[in-house]
């Protein structure tokens, strides 16, 4: 595929018109005849056993039709993501944990009834930080103790002890990272409706097929009796991958005999949604005088809150930069994932990678400085090269390589780190000294970072491409478009192969009854993994269309081409047929190809995405406030399918991580366990006024493994933001901030302490 006509173009977002005029329906906009309103009663205690629940008074409220408590639900886990989370439980584990739900004819009646449910609690000791939860005298939050992964994760290669012994210089530091919320605009909602023994649930979701399995297990009904529909999603960012709310809606609906919808309030979304894991990372690096890295050892202690959710994945991903971003024979990473009585942490864009990279990329800056090497040169010297890490390959040669490998001896399918560093530095003007403002209270500094992330291989993915006798082309995928744009980009890829315009493809997405199996839209995998299935399905459909056209045009397939909605003879384009005329000659009603890729990726190469970030900050030394003035992000995500939407992805990632770096912190009160700032006002996400001047560069790379050369992008820019900013703050003030977010009080404290 040399020249592309659809892929690489700025196809307009499919959902733009509906979203712009306000016609797009989100889960909370849906309403069925006779629908009831659900209300969740939440725990006021951070940790308690429910001794009894008396609903008699609540049942007498006019308009109340169903009440669900832990005593009248199946005591099943909401698997497969939330293995430790029951539909409802007689143990509550954080302030805001679900205790009971009510369905009534209106919201007021449901709330009133909720306030009349009498719950007797046996209050238990509670813990808001991992250290106290992991102390020997702490009581168990879950059966099996307060380590959510036990034994703790420990991975590595080589011999770090020998590596440190070899080093001329060993540097170490401890980093602390606060919890923050993804703050999706849409608070999650779910509506359930039964027909006989079959239930349909419309919900805020990242994966209808995963929800389908979870509900079937939790409700103890066959999978085929559950259908999940994903309406428009108002921001996922990794959140909304669980099913507890949907189970509660389904149970209420079954008991009441009417459809039921439950919607989170804004406060619920902050408290009972999912946050990024707060944590502490200790990192130690050994280097030779010449700048060669001999050993890296990282240990993370992460606060997963009341439930593990995707905590194990977070713990793992926090270590990937530590073990793979720098060329080094001896590395080790350990992680302690602790249950506490804070709100649950879970999936949030790039999972643990921003935490891990913050530690790694600020400590490497210090190491470079100590050695007297420019931070850029140090990274160019030590970045993991295209041929990969040293050491032997351990996995069998025919096994698809994990996108988070540990072992050495495996090359990357493509590795644009060098290009990102070089082009990013050039665009930023890394060599030029910064101009300091005339106002002496303002100081400017520059900083940089680099990053590594999974490049797109995900779970089992499928796609169906179909051409009807009428010429209508459709693309069926079980994926949810969580706002990132799969419903625009995937049809672009199909259109490229079938020689039509992207808008000629009819999309069927996000409905578990009519679409092939799909994973959750997670891990920056949709374009790569579903795209890989789609490309094969479309190619097969194209082959069959060409066979048909070969008869019609009386020319061998080898001499045919496809484009602009027609099949034509390469040497004589005047001999052509419209695709719809070709389709009309088929025997059946449609040519349909479904392709499933059990394990996307490659057995020969690691598929990873990369980036390098550069920024300039201005610190107000009177107020401690850090403002990012200028930002350059260079990304290697393979061939870019839709440049405008790719740019939006990078802008979005940087704006979210700006909050992580500088202002956002969801605070759980130590003495009471309540969340103190569950609001847009007090959980301080940056505004457009805080956004820097941003330049985005995409490396000129076509990945040989990825479909049409693509690699993952959605999360990839996230890990680099906080360390680039922290390194720039150091350049401005000469102070290393080791705690996130870098708020004015922390900056002032650091200045006072120096």
């Amino acid at each position: 595929m040399t020249t592309l006509s659809v892929v690489g173009q700025n196809a307009p977002r499919r959902d733009f018109p509906e979203k712009l005029v306000g016609q797009a329906k989100y889960s909370a906009d849906l309403k069925l005849p006779g629908m009831l309103y659900g209300h969740v009663l939440r725990s006021p205690h951070p940790h308690a056993n429910i001794v009894s629940i008396d609903t008699s008074e609540a049942e007498r409220v006019e308009g109340v039709l169903a009440i669900i408590t832990p005593y009248n639900v199946p005591r099943r886990a909401v698997a497969p993501i939330a293995l430790d989370t029951s539909v409802l439980d007689t143990r509550v584990r954080f302030v805001g944990d679900e205790v009971a739900v009510v369905a009534a004819v209106d919201d007021d009646a449901a709330r009133r009834a909720g306030s009349l449910i009498k719950v007797e609690y046996e209050v238990l000791p509670f813990y808001t930080d991992p250290d106290s939860a992991l102390a020997p005298d702490a009581i168990d939050i879950h059966p099996g103790g307060n380590l959510a992964i036990n034994p703790p994760l420990s991975i590595g290669r080589g011999d770090t002890e020998a590596g440190f012994a070899e080093a001329d210089l060993v540097m170490e530091e401890t980093y602390n990272i606060a919890c923050h919320s993804a703050t999706p605009m849409e608070p999650r909602a779910a509506m359930a409706s039964w027909e006989g023994d079959k239930v349909t649930v419309w919900k805020s979701t990242r994966g209808v097929h995963v929800d389908q399995v979870a509900l079937a297990q939790a409700l103890e009904i066959p999978v085929e009796n559950v259908n999940i529909v994903g309406p428009f999603l108002g921001g996922g960012f990794g959140n909304k991958d669980e099913s507890r709310l949907a189970c509660l809606a389904a149970l209420l609906s079954r008991q009441a005999g009417n459809p039921v919808r439950i919607e989170f309030t804004r406060e619920d979304e902050f408290v009972a949604g999912r946050t990024r894991h707060a944590g502490r990372i200790h990192l130690k690096v050994g280097v030779k005088r010449n700048g060669t890295i001999t050993a890296i050892h990282g240990t993370s202690t992460l606060n997963t809150g009341a439930y593990a959710a995707s905590g194990p994945g977070v713990a793992r991903r926090a270590g990937q930069g530590i073990i793979y971003l720098y060329h080094c024979p001896n590395v080790r990473y350990e992680s302690y994932l602790a249950y506490t009585n804070c709100p649950s942490a879970g999936s949030y864009r790039a999972l643990g990678a921003p935490q891990g990279h913050f530690a790694l990329e600020t400590l490497m800056d210090r190491v470079a400085e100590e050695l007297g090497i420019d931070p850029l040169d140090f990274r160019q010297k030590n970045r993991v090269p295209p041929e990969g890490q040293p050491g032997p390959r351990l996995s069998p040669p025919d096994q698809v390589v994990d996108s988070q490998p540990i072992e050495g001896g495996i090359p990357f399918s493509s590795n644009g780190l060098e290009e990102c560093l070089t082009r990013g530095a050039e665009a930023f003007g890394w060599d030029r000294p910064l101009e300091q403002p005339a106002d002496p209270s303002k100081r400017r500094g520059k900083g940089m970072s680099m990053m590594i992330y999974r490049g797109g291989p995900g779970s089992t993915s499928a796609a169906t491409v179909s051409v009807a006798k009428t010429g209508e082309i459709s693309l069926l995928s079980g994926l949810m478009d969580v706002g990132e744009g799969a419903t625009t980009v995937l049809p672009q890829m199909a259109a490229e192969i079938l020689g039509v315009n992207a808008e000629d493809i009819i999309n069927v997405f996000g409905d578990s009854a009519t679409t092939p199996e799909a994973p959750i839209t997670a891990g920056s995998t949709a374009t790569f993994s579903t795209g890989s299935a789609l490309v094969r399905a479309a190619a097969e459909v194209r082959r069959q269309l060409l066979d048909l056209a070969s008869d019609g045009l009386e020319a061998p397939v080898m001499e045919l081409e496809i484009g602009d909605g027609r099949v034509f003879v390469t040497d004589d384009p005047s001999r052509s047929m419209a695709l719809s005329d070709v389709a009309a000659t088929m025997d059946g009603e449609a040519i349909t190809e479904e392709v499933t890729i059990p394990v996307p990726g490659s057995a020969d190469y690691i598929v990873n995405a990369f980036g390098a970030h550069f920024c300039e900050v201005e610190v107000d030394t009177d107020t401690g406030r850090v403002r990012v003035v200028r930002y350059v992000a260079a990304q290697d995500s393979g061939r870019i399918m839709n440049p405008r939407m790719a740019l939006n992805q990078v802008e979005g990632a940087i704006s979210q991580m700006l909050g992580f770096a500088l202002s956002e912190e969801l605070v759980t009160d130590g003495p009471t366990g309540v969340t103190l700032n569950a609001s847009y006002l007090e959980h301080k996400s940056p505004t457009i006024m805080d956004f820097p001047d941003l330049q985005v560069i995409f490396a000129d790379i076509v990945d040989p493994v990825g479909p049409m050369g693509a690699k993952g992008l959605g999360e990839v820019p996230c890990p680099g933001v906080a360390p680039a900013i922290a390194n720039a703050v150091y350049d401005a003030l000469g102070l290393r901030l080791t705690e996130l977010p870098i708020t004015p009080d922390r900056v002032i404290r650091a200045m006072e302490g120096s």
Binding site: P44, V95, D108, S441, T621, D622, T623, G624, R625, L662, S663, V667, D669, G670, P671, T672, V674, L676, N677, Y680, L681, E682, K684, S685, P686, T687, M689, D690, T743, P744, D745, I748, R749, E752
Partner: protein, 330 residues
């Protein structure tokens, strides 16, 4: 939300009569009142709108100064040409508070009467002292946003930006209630927790603010050198944020000498904090001999910071320094 009755009286007399009932609450812009209802802090039985009461909206200029009706929006205060030139600190305070949406509905009266932002006060599950509970939960919890001076069993900071700015203009507050009307200096309008922990002003139940009066600066127009003022606000993001610390400074300079000085701080005390030692240091001093950095250190001489809020003292000193330096042209 509990049901409530809504009334829109057509006269001030009718409004204050309606407000003289238990659980009656006045609503102006509503941006704070609705939050308080949702947070379970208040459950109004009667909500009395001031929208149709005549005479509460508008900015009137007279020989004696300016009168700003309590229902005048923050956006209108920020945009008013006389306020921008002669009472710059007030225009800057109004123009930088919250967001454009809030400034368009929020009123000056409402801004002075808004309730504190203390996380513990605002949390539905925390029975804090201000809500009739038995103790302050913040003191043993997160103290980052609490006051560094003037706390007394309760350690809130007053959230109003305009209150701080009004403090340096010798403003007076016009109050009406069923018992009649009164006018008091802005410095006496706010009440420290030691006076009454459940409220932040001296308004009696049923009383409302009807307007604010700003005296005409003595030297305005006299020698063509109006007193200059400014408002500086430290915060954690550029918009939609309350002050960590804010400062209003006003200097009347003539003949190279500071004739009059006023400085007030927000974010540091339960009421707008008048930096009297700074004012004393500046008054009568020749501009050339003003040491702004030294003056800054006089901002909160009795500060008693807690675990997490010591930064406020540094910030206050720096902002006062910066404010003075800018006004004297350095």
């Amino acid at each position: 939300m509990n049901p409530f009755q809504y009334a829109e009286p057509k006269t001030l007399a009718e409004a204050v009569t309606l407000l003289d009932q238990p659980d009656a609450h006045a609503i102006a812009g509503g941006s704070d009142l609705l939050d308080e209802v949702k947070e379970g802090i208040i459950s109004p039985v009667q909500v009395i709108s001031l929208a149709s009461v005549p005479g509460l909206i508008g900015i009137d200029e007279s020989e004696s100064g300016l009168n700003i009706g309590a229902m005048t929006t923050i956006a209108d205060v920020a945009a008013h040409p006389v306020i921008r030139t002669a009472y710059t600190a007030l225009a800057e305070a109004a123009g930088g508070l919250a967001t454009p949406q809030v400034r368009n509905v929020g009123t000056l009266g409402g801004n002075l009467n808004q309730r504190p932002r203390c996380w513990y006060y605002r949390h539905p599950l925390i029975p804090c002292l201000k809500k009739g509970g038995d103790r302050c939960y913040a003191l043993i919890g997160n103290t980052k946003y609490l006051c560094v001076t003037g706390g007394d069993r309760c350690y809130i900071v007053h959230p109003s930006d305009t209150a701080v700015a009004l403090s340096v203009f010798d403003a007076t507050v016009d109050i009406s209630g069923s018992g009649g009307s009164r006018t008091i200096p802005i410095g006496q309008f706010f009440a420290a927790p030691g006076v009454d922990v459940t409220r932040e002003t001296v308004l009696e139940p049923g009383e409302i603010v009807t307007g604010v009066s700003l005296p005409r600066p003595a030297d305005l127009g006299a020698n063509g050198e109006p007193p200059r003022s400014l408002y500086l606000k430290a915060r954690e993001r550029e918009a939609g944020d309350f002050a960590l610390v804010s400062v209003a400074v006003r200097l009347a300079v003539s003949g190279g000498v500071v004739q009059q000085a006023a400085a007030a701080l927000g974010g540091v005390a339960p009421v707008p904090h008048r930096a009297t030692q700074v004012e004393e240091y500046l008054a009568g001093r020749s501009v050339d001999s003003v040491d702004a950095a030294y003056a800054g250190t006089l901002s909160i001489p009795d500060a008693r910071p807690m675990t997490d809020n010591g930064y406020k003292v540094v910030m206050a000193n720096n902002l006062v320094k910066q404010g003075i330096a800018r006004l004297v042209g350095r």
